[in-house]
Symmetry: C2
DNA sequence: ATAGTAGGTTACTTCAAGTAGGAAACGGTA
DNA sequence: TACCGTTTCCTACTTGAAGTAACCTACTAT
């Protein structure tokens, strides 16, 4: 045995990589393996092996298994936020802004089915405070966006009402996204319309009633 | 040292207990400890110690750590289902039925804040397929209930529309319940009204449109 | 009283998270 | 070219918790 002291003579020697690149590579692999096996069933050794590097490197860069997960979630969060924010600019009415944001959201969950599924299923006391906090941050950003939208549309609503409405919308989206990724026969636009029909027109009636007297 | 070979002389000897009672006791303790520390941070040794029994007993009765968690979730699921079903009977209109169900739901989350929080945060790839499946079953029951309600009210809706509506409602409730338990100044009735305003009146408009032509 | 069973224990194995301490590649500088 | 400091990376360990093997003891019925 003994795997020849070091491959070949001088070619095929150890591959070094700048830290930033390695981190990105690690996150990409980790996201895939987590999504494939589930967080709990994935060992750091396995991720390390697939990256082609040894375990202490993962700890060097991410501190812990949970740290690695948090980094993965954060990446999704940032991308989702940026995309949504971008998609909303230039909308003429709040209704149109909301619709565009919803479509973007469902398109994103479609393109990243596995990762999104991981995220939603990853949430947990199971995993530790940091990962939960990061997951909550994803929702928090959506919530804030919605509150901003609603408050522009219903200036006389109380903060409590705005919060509740935003939370409801976020919950509706989250749950429908799970349903949505199970249905290949439904488009992102249709999913967005389901939400609109159910929540927005409800809200709209509410708003009209407010403006009646 | 050496904690006297065995307490007292013959009083205070080992406490036996019928299996059903012991199981119930274990679940009660486990639910509390999981809620307190989080699932991942809780060791079977700790639960065993608090129960006053040794670890293999837990494995004897629940098979695994995840099995114990599943048992806890199942208990909540059954109670929530029974209570909701009971609260709905005798309602005159679908609207009233929905409202009663929602109030019961929020009251339940209020009474079991810690456990409910655990449940919602416990969901996870982190934990394994069985626990996830059990958690999904909780939602599935709510979803089916809503589908039944909706289909009575909108007989011409497609199954896909009914499903989507039910999923949205379940997601809205789930998320609002998290918000709700953070707000001591909100009653279960108010929380239910938030949902009604946002979703039901939206649906109602949808229904009226359907019946117009 | 005694056999059979349900409830119980101690003491282990195994596996994965996390760490200590050092080696080897690279960039610069003389 | 030989040396130095920095960064990347590794082997080999410790720790801790899940899960198990093997055995013991209180109760129950005849």
């Amino acid at each position: 045995m003994s795997v020849v002291t070091s491959a070949g003579s001088k070619t095929e020697r150890r591959r070094r990589m700048p830290r930033a690149d390695r981190e990105q590579q690690m996150m990409t692999v980790a996201e895939a393996v987590f999504a494939e096996r589930g967080y709990a069933a994935t060992s750091m050794d396995e991720i390390a092996e697939r990256v082609g590097v040894s375990k202490p490197m993962l700890y060097e860069y991410f501190g812990s298994k949970e740290g690695l997960l948090v980094a993965c979630i954060r990446q999704v969060r940032v991308e989702l936020r940026d995309r949504t924010a971008e998609s909303v600019i230039g909308a003429d009415t709040p209704e149109e802004a909301l619709r565009r944001g919803l479509v973007t959201f469902f398109k994103y969950t479609d393109e990243h089915r596995r990762s999104w599924d991981l995220l939603l299923r990853t949430e947990a006391a199971v995993v530790g405070p940091a990962a939960v906090a990061e997951m909550e941050a994803v929702r928090q950003e959506q919530t804030q966006l919605h509150i901003a939208l609603f408050s522009a549309y219903m200036p006389d609503a109380t903060p409590l009402e705005l919060e509740a409405a935003a939370e409801i919308l976020v919950g509706a989206c989250e749950r429908l996204s799970v349903w949505y990724v199970r249905h290949d026969d439904v488009t992102a636009e249709e999913a967005a319309e389901h939400i609109m029909r159910m929540t927005w027109f409800g809200l709209k009636g509410e708003v009209e009633a407010r403006h009646k007297h």
